[in-house]
Structure formats: structure tokens, C-alpha cells
Point group: C2
DNA sequence: TTCACAGATATTGTCGTATTTTATGTTTTC
DNA sequence: GAAAACATAAAATACGACAATATCTGTGAA
């Protein structure tokens, strides 16, 4: 195990990264509860690491709002409302550990208004590079075997490029979040045939964006998402 | 200067927090460019700190996607696309340093679809506590002198409570982002009289949410945001 | 009994050094 | 001559000891 993450998030390498990963998962999974104090000495012994390594790991978690250290009082898990839930790593830890269903619902809800808005803006602002990237992703989806990892990767790239075409950096950042959601959904459903069915809907989105019609683009994206929801439910 | 942040984000205390703040600002402001290598020894000398403190500060920045350290190669500023732009601290650094106008536009754009969606969901899911909190914030807005910090604080609380009423944790997390935007906008405009005018619009939102009408709530929120945009433009 | 002050103590914060890792240049062999 | 194995060195990474400090506790006087 290299310790480096797959995608986007914190590239915690080596020993240090593993500790961040483990502690982040524990907190997010509720194994360490908010308000609870963290026993540094015990963790030092458990992982067989030095104080410095543990401290650096906790600094990373503090940067994501998960913990807070106060001199003399100790190090504590912060209340859930302070967690940076939009952070890619926090999201991944949550998906990996617990009540995944509820979280996927919330992610789907966020997608339901972020991606249509992205499509609308993309229709207004896309340039030639954006269109080229979108059609390339579409072609890759069509060419690949629907069950292959290449098809999934192309799907992810499509959604990323769509938000990139909005030329709003904050929306682009949300793409990372959405990709995590899509990846989790795909690994849950494992039904490659969905991709095949989704192709026309994707193509429609590109066409409306290419035409520069924001209303149509928004509707096309809504239709795509609605279809995706149907597909997931039919699998269940 | 205590070094602790105002609101939500990374509570970096003491020496360490100042270094995080300073380096984060430099990167985000373009003083340290993506791809550029960071000279740890020079920074150690500049801030007169030990290797450990600098390392911990860089770990925090790595957690936010701003830098990456590879053994033997060095520590580098990561490409802008890897930055976690939704992170509250990154946002604050960006607002404090550079092309604030462009960023505020992007934030307004995000608000334009996030808050209406939040209002819609709030109308469907709000409970008695949510309504009480919303009306309390409303009353506080009405009672306070429009130019006072209390009025601004009540306004922020209103928008936070609104997204909280959506009962979607990811949306609640976006509240932190929106609050930063609102605070920056207010400090830019400094026009308290806007708040007085905005009261009826806020009240309308609460009423539609209280009535449990998602369509009306979404429209009322759109109207509120449109009015806010007008007000800002009229000040210019 | 209550309040205030001062010292003890436990815990985080900081430092300088040793170790590990790994990209790069060098040599050796086929 | 090319490729692969190997040595080198530069940089991040890990370590243990020491310093700083906020909180708690105990004592004294009002």
C-alpha cells in the first residue's frame, strides 16, 4: 500500500498519511465522538509512532475542522457542525465507513441543483476547448465497453468538463465532490449497462450546450439526472 | 493579534497559525506560483521558526490541496485546479488578497442556485425548531439598528438557519462559504440601509417555508437574492 | 464561608538531530 | 551501444528531549 490517495484529495504519503486516514475514518465513523478528548499517548503507543508524526496528522485533521487542540486542556473532536463536509477526504471517509445510503441521497440532492446550474452556465460561456473536451469524453464513453473502468472514467470526466465549462471556479471545485459521489455510486451499483442507456441523455446535454441554449441545457441535465435516479432505483 | 480565526475555519493558534495564514495568503495571492518549489530553509530563516513548525504549517496547506511534498524533489505549490476552493480558509485568503470582484461574482452565482434550492428543501422538511430559529433571526434583524454589527450578524444567522432547515448536511456546510461571502460583501458595501429594505423579502421567505410551499419558497428566495444584487449595484 | 492569589501539574507546543526515501547520475554487463 | 543494476546525495520524514502555558488546587485572609 503506497498510502497516496486515488483522486484529488490529500496526498498523504508514508506513515503519516496512514495515520491521518485512520484517525479521520474513526472520527467520521463515530468511533471517536465529538467532544471526546483524544489520548495522544495511547495513540502514540497504538500506532508505534512518535509525537511529531501524530501531531502532524492531527494538524491535518484540524485543518479539515475535525479536531481542535488547546494547551493544557487536551485535543478534542470538534462538533459535527464544524466539520468541513465539503472536503474531499472527509467525504471519502464518510462514504467508506457509515450510513452510506443517507449520504448518497444528500449528494444526489446537491447534484440535482448544482449540475443543472452548471449546464446552464456552460451553455452561456463554453469555448471551443470546452466543447472539444466534452465531445471527447462523450466519444470515449461510446467507444468503451460499458462495464469497463474506462467507461466509468469517461463518465466522470464528462461531468468534470461540464462544470469546468461553466468557468466558475467554485463550481469546478464541486466537481471533485460529485466525482466521489459518482465513483461510490458506480461501485455500489456495478451495473455497467446503465452507461449505455445514459449515452443519449449525455449527448443531448452536449448539443444544447454547443447550441448555447441555457434553458435547454438545464432541462437536458435535469433529464439526465432523473434518468440516473430511475436506473439506480430499478437496480434495487 | 491572537492568531485565531473569526469564524468556522482553521483555528490555528499561536506561532504555527500565523505561518499557515501567511503562506496560504502568499500562495493564493500568486506570490508563490503553482509549480514553484518552496525553499524551506529560507522560510525557516525568514520566520525564525524550526523545521517542525514549518512542516506542520505545510501539512495544513497540503490538507487544503495548496502544496505537495515529494521526497528528494522538494515541496511545490500544486496547480490551481487541485486547490480546495470550497475550503473556508482558502476562500478567506482569496477574498483578503486579490481580484475580489471576480470572486464575489462567482460566490453570488453559487448563492443564486444554492439558496433557492435550500429554501425549497427547507419548506419540505423544516421542523418547529427551524421555524423558531428563523423567526428569531428575523426579529433580531428587525430590532437591531440596520447599520449595527448585530444586524449583520442576524442576517448571517438567518441564511445559516435557512440552509440548516434543509436538513442536508452538505448544504449546511455551504453556509460557511456563503457567510464568508456575505461578510465580505457587507464590509465592502458598508451600507446598513440595505438591511432595512431587505426585511420584507426575508419575511416572505420565512412565511413560505412556514407554509410548507417549496415552489413559493424557492421563488421568494430568488426575489431576495435579486433585490440584494440590485442594492449592491445601486451602491456602485 | 467565600473569594483571591499563587504555585503545582499535566498537556500541548517547539526545537535540533538522526534516519529514510528516492530521483538522478554512474557503472557494468550483455 | 543500450539497458539494467547500483551507488550517491539531496530532500523530506521521523525522533526524543525540552519549553511554554493554561487550568486546577490548595492555602490564606477577609
Amino acid at each position: 500500500m503506497s498510502g497516496a490517495w486515488v483522486n484529488g484529495g490529500y496526498a498523504g504519503r508514508g506513515l503519516h498519511g496512514q495515520v491521518v486516514n485512520e484517525l479521520g475514518s474513526r472520527i467520521v465513523a463515530g468511533r471517536l465522538k465529538p467532544g471526546e478528548s483524544i489520548d495522544l499517548v495511547a495513540l502514540e503507543a497504538e500506532f508505534d509512532i512518535s509525537r511529531t508524526v501524530l501531531r502532524e496528522a492531527l494538524k491535518v485533521l484540524a485543518a479539515k475542522g475535525l479536531v481542535d487542540a488547546r494547551q493544557k486542556r487536551g485535543t478534542f473532536v470538534r462538533p459535527r457542525t464544524d466539520w468541513q463536509l465539503l472536503d474531499v477526504d472527509v467525504l471519502r471517509w464518510r462514504l467508506a465507513s457509515q450510513s452510506t445510503g443517507e449520504l448518497l441521497n444528500q449528494l444526489a440532492e446537491v447534484r440535482s441543483f448544482v449540475e443543472p446550474a452548471g449546464a446552464r452556465l456552460a451553455a452561456l460561456r463554453r469555448d471551443d476547448d470546452d466543447l472539444a473536451a466534452l465531445t471527447a469524453a462523450l466519444d470515449a464513453m461510446a467507444a468503451a465497453d460499458p462495464a469497463s473502468p474506462e467507461a466509468v472514467e469517461a463518465d466522470l470526466r464528462f461531468h468534470r468538463q461540464l462544470l469546468a465549462a461553466s468557468h466558475n471556479e467554485l463550481l469546478v471545485s464541486m466537481a471533485a465532490m460529485i466525482e466521489v459521489a459518482l465513483a461510490a455510486r458506480d461501485s455500489l451499483v456495478h451495473a455497467g449497462n446503465v452507461v449505455r442507456d445514459a449515452l443519449p441523455a449525455h449527448r443531448a446535454v452536449v448539443e444544447t450546450i454547443s447550441a448555447g441554449d441555457p434553458e435547454a441545457a438545464e432541462l437536458a441535465m435535469r433529464a439526465l439526472l432523473a434518468q440516473a435516479v430511475e436506473d439506480v432505483e430499478s437496480v434495487r
